[in-house]
Symmetry: C2
Subunit: 250 residues, 2 copies
């Protein structure tokens, strides 16, 4: 093990990549953008198929409240949710916008460690947490799924930390839009159900900076913004095809 000693000079961090290329993990395109395909949730889904009942939430209503007793888990049928925490100063951090097919509250045990609110009209299926616990006692593959799920969440948050620190506003917004588009199948424009402030609290920008970042991406031709809530990620071909606006685009 001693030969693994790296001893990197702390003043030249860029060298890391040169000497240890395997350390570099692209922050786009890996697990963070393909949460569904890599990890399947057959056991959890069967659980929901048998024991769940449907629930509706109006836009803005609270689904889970940080600190309350967490006595259910949810599977989103339709709509978008924002999961967030708020600190004493009133700052809010939205760490995910789960959508159709995603689970809520899997990682909690006794109390919710976050608040979940409906962004638009939301339909979920929920099952009592006790049911999950009972099933966990006997179902080994469900246990595996749970661990995989939580491991995925953790890795995702750590990736978010990295992105938040290492990239500027427009790029963060672009990555978010890209990821949000991922789950939307169609080729047309994608509708953003959440407002600018929500996006800002997710990617760590003020509402105004989110607007500017949108303008920035639009100007560069990276996205097509039909209205303030309809966008489309431009493929490279599309970007090169129409470099309208001013050519003096420094």
């Amino acid at each position: 093990m001693k030969d693994m000693t790296v001893s990197v000079p702390h003043t030249q961090p860029e060298k890391w990549l040169a000497t240890h290329p395997q350390l570099a993990y692209a922050s786009k395109g890996t697990s963070i953008n393909t949460p569904k395909s890599t990890r399947d949730s057959t056991e959890l889904l069967t659980l929901f198929r048998h024991n769940s009942f449907e629930q509706h939430f109006q836009p803005g209503s609270t689904i889970t409240l940080h600190g309350e007793s967490a006595d259910a888990i949810y599977l989103i049928v339709s709509g978008t949710i924002r999961c967030c925490t708020v600190d004493a100063e009133g700052h809010r951090q939205i760490f995910s916008f789960p959508k159709k097919g995603e689970f809520i509250g899997i990682s909690d045990m006794d109390r919710w460690h976050f608040t979940a609110e409906a962004v638009d009209h939301v339909i979920v299926r929920s099952i009592p947490r006790t049911t999950l616990e009972q099933e966990l006692a006997t179902n080994i593959s469900l246990r595996q799924e749970m661990r995989a799920h939580m491991r995925g969440l953790l890795a995702r948050r750590e990736r978010q930390l990295l992105t938040l620190v290492s990239t500027k506003g427009p790029e963060r917004l672009y990555r978010f839009l890209e990821e949000f588009a991922q789950t939307r199948s169609g080729t047309g424009h994608i509708v953003l159900p959440m407002c600018r402030r929500d996006i800002g609290d997710h990617i760590g920008l003020s509402m105004e900076s989110v607007c500017r970042a949108f303008g920035n991406l639009k100007r560069k031709g990276l996205i097509d913004l039909k209205s303030h809530e309809k966008y489309k990620i431009m493929s490279k071909a599309q970007r090169d095809a129409k470099p309208d606006s001013l050519p003096a685009d420094a």
Copy 2:
């Protein structure tokens, strides 16, 4: 459930706290700073007591490498480790500096999802992952512990996201120093084993800004900086006692 609809005007986020005081959770002093006291790890510890063997790492050496096969778990006996990820551009995010008594790699399954390096001389006890897996199959309370552990990690990362976005450099540094001091028992000065760049990559600042943040805290009397690696958090009494430097301390 319909009466839970909140419908907050998005332009006045401060109102949230007024109407929903229970949403506010102090970001200091709660679980993030007391990881040991709230969740005990008796089962994991017994596992280590029986099956582990000791391993030493030189400063800078690699303990786990992101992407490699994760065939062990670790308990730190002494020393400090940095757990991080690096992206394609060479930006590094250190999301924790685990110390004596903390576990490493509990949340991984097949492959490491992060890189862990020894900051100073590190001694760990490790057990094969297969041992953990076998024990998990039969030991219910161990399973509970694992879940609690991962839930704690997740909540911690989400709190870090919030802190990273909502507070300025000096405050982030102060919180880090405060938290780092937590596990150090003595009343004297605390030794920082890691360099400025490491701290920067942890709290999202450049090396230089970390220096300035240190100066800032020192000037305000929030910390006592004996040398560049020895500090002490000043209690309120101590701060009020000697407001040396310039009184014009706007």
